[in-house]
């Protein structure tokens, strides 16, 4: 058997008091795709960052193709042929694609020749791997899928033989994910080695050759993918049996809660984001909005959440909402019985520097229930309540005094959910409830959403995960280019049909 492409021996890493990696050893064979799974905070990203020279290990050795290699910084990793696509992309947002690609890999002191060379090479790479991007597009103006391509191109441009991808599909649509996997397959065929971190067992089963499982900083198992099953992996990961599908009874819709008609949104640049959207939603029902990111779902949530102006009409429990005036803000929406789990928990849903208990009332901080008297908030009561909530939602670590950034993504999401669900709203807006969340937490979050429905709440679910939409929704509406392309019953539809609608192909036309 040939030399392993990568071999890590006894890697340990502590962040202050937190032991993120403990004595980890792993071997990855060349020309394979090696999956790594594990709960949020298990230490996956840390391990890969060490391999890429972003962090320095406290102890341990790294062998590349059998040769012991010191990787003190990313420069060393790059020259060892390693490329990494981080979960949070490391791109300069206001640079063009081309500038991002040449950054650090310029061919001389002046920029023009470097850019010329990169442009030519980019065209070749694009043709070879179906990685088409506009080299002159500015990063902040292109979608995350495109941004990810740029990251992959960055690695390929630097002639990486080993490619590490940290949760690459978390932000991709199914089509984009499929395409990514085709590309990864092609890279594998060329003999490149790929390490893939993901929370999605289906992806592990579909594409990897071997898979390693991490728990609490340690490597607990490495198995051949062909010799394992999703249930088995889930158990290895979480330490107990996990229910991998959503368990729910048929919906029992009651009175109508939300009625949207003729909703239009034009953004600051004058582009129409929502076009004549009409929807309705009843109590005790989950309406799933499927669609490729950037087709108006975010704007829909923002309008309903009170921070995007719009024209048209939105009624909640029969009362029209103010869509432009002084009463159109998050506070008044909450007063109207609308709760909102935003799509981006770190940007919107939480203040990362606030402690958990402070975040637990974010948006509801003026609620009389949280006031001790006319002037002051009742912090002691909020803390106590948060502690109880964290218990119910199994937020780990169970400490309301930690700041939000000290929680893993899954636990951050639980904090937001706990806040919004326990308000007992009439209408719950949920955007991307399980993005970047491990399967243990996904199970829990899905159970919560279903339980809420069963209490007779109306739930508007926006997700780019078709799986999630299909398994949670009672009705599915598909959005494309700011329009509703059609509604489907999850029982009578399938991924393919939804996928076509998401691409703007209407049922009649395709039939």
């Amino acid at each position: 058997m040939s030399q392993p492409a990568i071999e890590l021996q006894g890697i340990s890493k502590a962040f202050g008091p937190v032991q993120a990696n403990k004595d980890i050893s792993i071997r990855v064979m060349p020309g394979t795709i090696h999956g790594i799974i594990g709960e949020n905070g298990a230490g996956k990203s840390t391990l890969m960052s060490i391999l890429y020279g972003f962090y320095k290990a406290d102890a341990g050795e790294i062998f590349i193709s059998g040769k012991k290699t010191a990787i003190p910084d990313s420069q060393a990793a790059i020259s060892a042929g390693i490329g990494m696509v981080f979960q949070h992309f490391k791109l300069v947002e206001n640079f063009t694609v081309l500038e991002n690609i040449v950054l650090g890999a310029e061919s001389g002191a002046f920029l023009a020749p470097s850019l010329r060379k990169a442009r030519a090479e980019l065209a070749e790479l694009a043709a070879e791997y179906e990685l088409n991007v506009d080299p002159d597009a500015v990063i902040e103006e292109i979608g995350v899928g495109m941004q990810q391509r740029v990251e992959i191109l960055k690695a390929l441009y630097r002639r990486a033989n080993i490619l590490i991808l940290d949760e690459p599909t978390g932000v991709l649509t199914p089509t984009e994910a499929d395409q990514l996997f085709r590309i990864l397959g092609r890279l594998r065929e060329e003999g490149k080695t790929i390490i893939l971190i993901t929370h999605k067992l289906r992806e592990i089963m579909d594409i990897t050759d071997t898979v390693s499982v991490m728990r609490r900083g340690e490597m607990t198992a490495t198995v051949k993918t062909s010799q394992t099953s999703p249930e088995n992996l889930a158990e290895l990961m979480v330490g107990r049996k996990v229910l991998l599908r959503v368990d729910k009874t048929p919906a029992q819709p009651k009175h109508q809660v939300l009625e949207i008609s003729g909703l239009n949104v034009v953004d600051d640049a004058g582009v129409a984001r929502l076009k004549d959207v009409s929807l309705s939603l009843c109590a005790g029902e989950i309406l799933g909005i499927a669609g490729v990111a950037g087709n108006g779902q975010s704007e829909l949530l923002e309008v309903l959440g009170g921070y995007q102006t719009a024209t048209g009409s939105v009624k909640v429990n029969g009362a029209a909402l103010d869509l432009t005036g002084a009463d159109s803000d998050g506070q008044s929406r909450r007063a109207n019985g609308i709760a909102h789990v935003p799509e981006d928990r770190q940007r919107e849903g939480l203040i990362m520097d606030f402690m958990a208990w402070e975040n637990a009332v974010f948006g509801y901080h003026r609620d009389p229930a949280h006031q001790a008297n006319r002037f002051f908030m009742d912090n002691a009561a909020i803390k106590a309540e948060t502690a109880a909530k964290m218990q119910r939602f199994d937020v780990r670590p169970h400490n309301p005094n930690l700041t939000a950034q000290n929680f893993s993504g899954g636990n951050q999401q639980k904090i937001v959910l706990a806040r919004e669900i326990e308000r007992n709203p009439d209408l719950l807006l949920i955007g991307q409830p399980t993005r970047g969340v491990d399967i243990g937490a996904i199970e829990f979050i899905h159970q919560q959403i279903v339980a809420l429905r069963d209490q007779g709440k109306a739930i508007l679910l926006v997700s780019v995960e078709l799986d999630e939409i299909l398994s949670l929704s009672d009705r599915i509406a598909v959005m494309f280019d700011g329009q509703i392309m059609g509604e489907r019953d999850p029982a009578d539809t399938n991924e393919k049909e939804l996928g076509l609608l998401m691409a703007g192909v209407t049922g009649e036309a395709s039939a």
Binding site: G16, P17, G305, G306, Y307, D329, G330, Q331, S332, R333, R334, H340, P342, D344, R347, E348, G349, L350, I351, M352, D353, F354, E358, F362, G363, H365, R366, Q371, F375, F376, M377, N379, L402, N406
Partner: protein
């Protein structure tokens, strides 16, 4: 979650930083041929061992508390001074206790207006608040100059200053207060006055405002993340306006101490230096009122100690400025230099123990 116990972070780190700054200052003093030991003795004797030393130290402290709480540049205070002067000069107050309320309102109002305009421009027009504030400082200097050379100056006076405020507006100094309590000769002639207590009250109020009220919660949220604030329905225009106006009001209040409390008339450069020290005080106090109070106390000590050095030694006043700079540098910007080795020490202690 940190490596070090909290007390080490809060007490040990600043203390060691301070000692380093002091050692460097000692070298400088040595270099110009004076004795650092004698200098330190002078500073401590003249500041902490005499009641009037305390009186001066707390007077400066009062200034720095206000500007530190406000984190503002000095000239909001200048406009506050105008407010104080107008209130004290043109309203016949029966007693200082009424006058101080009126003057506080006047100072806060003028400070607020002056801070409100840049805030408004930032909130509504996106004009960068840092430049507009710098510009408004210069404009305030012009306005103050205009009034002090013109309308507010008593005829025939040389000073670009207002007339003396009527006696009914004079604030009780520490000396007066000590006298009431039977301690004659305490705080003799020191300028510290009741506005020190006003500053303490302001500390407590600001603490409550920021950490206990929904408004403070919103100000903090807005400061950390604008998109999140938008999501939560916290209006940015409102928060920018309110926060800046509170800041303006606080720095305006500084004028109570200097103008109504000390000089008892409005003079041209009464805010000298306090603005920048205020920025340092706020950042060093980590924007926590108790921290601001302690940092203000430290600079009160340096100011009064510096005066003692200037009185009794040949140490030039510019060297005292250098010492202040070193203290700001080491306790404010170079703390990691001290914290890092300490953290390592604590980590190994913890591992070993």
């Amino acid at each position: 979650m940190g490596v070090m116990p909290k007390w080490a972070d809060v007490v040990l780190v600043p203390l060691i930083s301070l000692i380093i700054a002091a050692l460097l200052s000692a070298l400088l003093i040595l270099a110009i041929g004076e004795s650092p030991v004698a200098a330190l003795k002078l500073m401590i004797e003249g500041t902490l061992l005499r009641s009037s030393g305390w009186g001066y130290m707390l007077y400066y402290t009062t200034n720095f508390i206000f500007t530190g709480l406000a984190v503002s540049v000095a000239f909001h205070a200048a406009m506050g001074g105008l407010g104080v002067a107008l209130v004290c000069l043109f309203i016949p107050w029966p007693h200082w206790s009424f006058a101080i309320i009126g003057a506080s309102l006047g100072a806060a109002f003028f400070g607020m207006i002056w801070a409100g305009l840049p805030a408004y421009l930032q909130a509504k027009r996106g004009s960068h608040i840092v430049i507009t504030t710098i510009m408004f400082n210069f404009i305030a200097a012009g306005v103050l100059n205009f009034f002090l050379v013109g309308a507010l100056k008593p005829k025939g006076s040389m000073d670009p200053a207002t007339a003396n405020f009527p006696a009914a507006t004079h604030l009780p100094t520490f000396e007066d207060m000590a006298g009431l309590l039977g301690f004659e000769k305490m705080f003799r002639a020191a300028p510290a006055n009741v506005s020190f207590f006003l500053a303490l009250v302001a500390c407590v109020l600001v603490w409550f405002l920021i950490w206990r009220t929904p408004l403070g919660y919103e100000i903090r949220a807005m400061g950390k993340s604008e998109p999140a604030a938008r999501y939560a329905g916290i209006g940015s225009v409102k928060i920018i306006m309110v926060a800046m106006m509170i800041s303006g009001a606080l720095s305006g209040m500084m004028a109570i101490n200097t103008t109504q409390g000390e000089s008892e008339r409005l003079i041209l450069n009464f805010t000298e230096g306090a603005g920048f020290i205020g920025i340092a005080v706020a950042l060093m106090g980590r924007s926590h009122p108790l921290g601001v109070f302690l940092a203000a106390l430290l600079f009160g000590f340096l100011y009064q100690g510096g005066a003692e050095l200037a009185l009794w030694t040949k140490i030039p006043r510019e060297l005292i400025v250098v010492i202040q700079a070193l203290v700001i540098l080491f306790t404010g910007a170079l703390t990691l230099m001290v914290r890092r080795p300490l953290e390592r020490l604590f980590l190994s202690l913890r591992r070993g123990g």
